[in-house]
């Protein structure tokens, strides 16, 4: 029987810090990703192998999505958005390994990711527009919208992690229920569907993150003819 998805049970404690199943799986995913990245990227050459071509295709695809969304250079956002996508994808698909529960099926993991997106919006906004420019983004299209924009910045973050949590948790939950009721091979179509769901949810989370960042940067830009002295860095 599965435990409640709304409740995280610590496996062990490191001092006052409880280490849950989601944290442990995340560490394993991190180790696999970093080790794999190091192994695959240490022998890059001008004449690419099939492995290098696949890596370059992945990076180029992420760059293309960022460029299509923001219209700017993808370099400042690449690591954050790309890592979000890969981590969420691997985390979602990790539930297909018997005995492993996806970290994204735990509310804390999705909330942590949403908090990172919230903070990244502030970071990239202040970095690209300056503090005043970032604050001005809340006044778009006019100052009347400031309360609503502040509320929206919180609720959209909340909706992100709720959406991710609900989809992943429900998928895993359904598979577990079907497996417990119908036998070993019946949930396979649902697991295949879960692969697609995991991919789509990772894509949606990453795209929403870059959309929020791009919207903030765009809203904070001064109108035409307005002085830009408070926007020291226009790199984004």
């Amino acid at each position: 029987m599965m435990s409640s998805p709304l409740q995280s049970t610590p496996l062990f404690m490191i001092g006052p810090v409880p280490v849950t199943d989601a944290v442990l799986v995340t560490w394993v995913i991190m180790a696999v990703l970093v080790l794999g990245a190091w192994l695959m990227s240490r022998r890059l050459s001008l004449r690419p192998s099939a492995r290098q071509a696949a890596l370059e295709l992945l990076v180029d695809t992420v760059d293309g999505q960022i460029r299509a969304t923001t219209g700017a250079s993808p370099e400042p956002f690449r690591a954050f958005i790309g890592t979000l996508f890969i981590y969420i994808l691997i985390a979602n698909w990790s539930s297909l390994i018997p005995g492993v529960e996806a970290p994204t099926a735990q509310l804390e993991t999705d909330a942590g990711l949403a908090v990172l997106v919230f903070l990244s919006v502030i970071w990239f906004g202040t970095r690209g527009l300056g503090l005043a420019g970032y604050l001005r983004s809340f006044a778009a299209p006019n100052p009347v919208m400031i309360p609503l924009n502040i509320l929206e910045s919180i609720t959209r973050t909340f909706s992100m992690f709720v959406r991710l949590f609900g989809n992943v948790m429900s998928g895993g939950f359904v598979i577990a229920i079907v497996a417990s009721l119908a036998g070993l091979f019946v949930p396979i179509p649902l697991m295949a569907l879960e692969l697609l769901t995991g991919l789509v949810q990772a894509y949606i989370f990453a795209i929403l993150a870059i959309v929020f960042i791009a919207a903030t940067v765009e809203d904070g830009k001064p109108a035409k003819g307005e002085p830009t002295a408070d926007t020291p860095d226009q790199r984004t």
Binding site: V19, T26, A37, D63
Partner: protein, 245 residues
């Protein structure tokens, strides 16, 4: 529902660390390699473009050189034609000049031969004429002829300078009066008197004959001879004809 803030924070930190690690070991190296390969591709394209431009320039240069070759070939052929024409013209002029020179030399030689032949013919004609005259003069004999020759002799003696006349008179060996045929006594007497009159004195005069004279009367001394005969006249005519012809 209870949110575990420790887990939330740990997961956020985990993802942040993962972002940093993947940035270091994945995103940055692969993106750098993509950029490097793009730069290399651009450089290769630029090199290819440069090589293409160079090849096009070399091709244009070759075309230009080939056109130059054609023009130079035409020029060489034209020069060769001109040189051949000039050489042919010069050879023709040279041959014409040589032919003219040969023709003139032949004409001169023909003219000289003609002159020589004419002269020879004139000489032969003169000799023949003289021989004919000699034969004809041989028939003109008689007292009238002898009297005429005696008259011509006395005229010649009279025309001599006085000192020569004196020398002739003083000639100890005497003077000889030579005729073609022996003179009769009367003729000798007239001749002796006429000579003495012409000389202005009485010389020691002897008479002699010389058939070679044909006809005539000549006075011969030790130091002079007054030629007065057909032989002398014919010899003078022959000489004149030889020199005058």
């Amino acid at each position: 529902m209870k949110l575990d803030w420790w887990t939330l924070g740990l997961q956020a930190v985990n993802v942040l660390i993962l972002v940093w690690l993947l940035q270091r070991f994945f995103w940055r190296p692969v993106a750098a390699m993509i950029a490097t390969r793009k730069d290399a591709a651009q450089a290769m394209l630029a090199d290819a473009k440069s090589s293409q431009d160079k090849a096009a320039a070399a091709l244009a240069e070759i075309e230009q050189t080939r056109a130059g070759f054609a023009a130079e070939r035409e020029k060489i052929l034209a020069d060769a034609r001109d040189a051949a024409d000039a050489a042919g013209e010069a050879a023709m002029n040279d041959a014409r000049a040589k032919a003219d020179k040969l023709r003139k030399a032949a004409e001169a030689r023909l003219a000289a031969d003609k002159v020589a032949a004419e002269k020879q013919m004139a000489d032969q004609a003169a000799s023949l004429a003289v021989d004919i005259a000699e034969k004809l003069a041989g028939r003109l004999k008689g007292p009238e002829i002898s009297a005429a020759f005696l008259s011509w002799l006395t005229d010649a003696i009279k025309a001599m300078p006085d000192d020569e006349k004196t020398a002739a008179l003083a000639d100890g060996k005497g003077l000889r009066l030579v005729s073609a045929e022996a003179l009769t006594a009367a003729q000798k007497t007239r001749a002796n008197a006429a000579v003495a009159e012409a000389l202005g004195g009485k010389p020691a005069l002897s008479f002699d004959t010389d058939a070679a004279l044909i006809a005539g009367l000549e006075l011969r001394g030790a130091h002079f001879t007054l030629r007065n005969s057909w032989q002398a006249d014919l010899a003078r005519i022959r000489e004149d004809l030889h020199h005058g012809g």
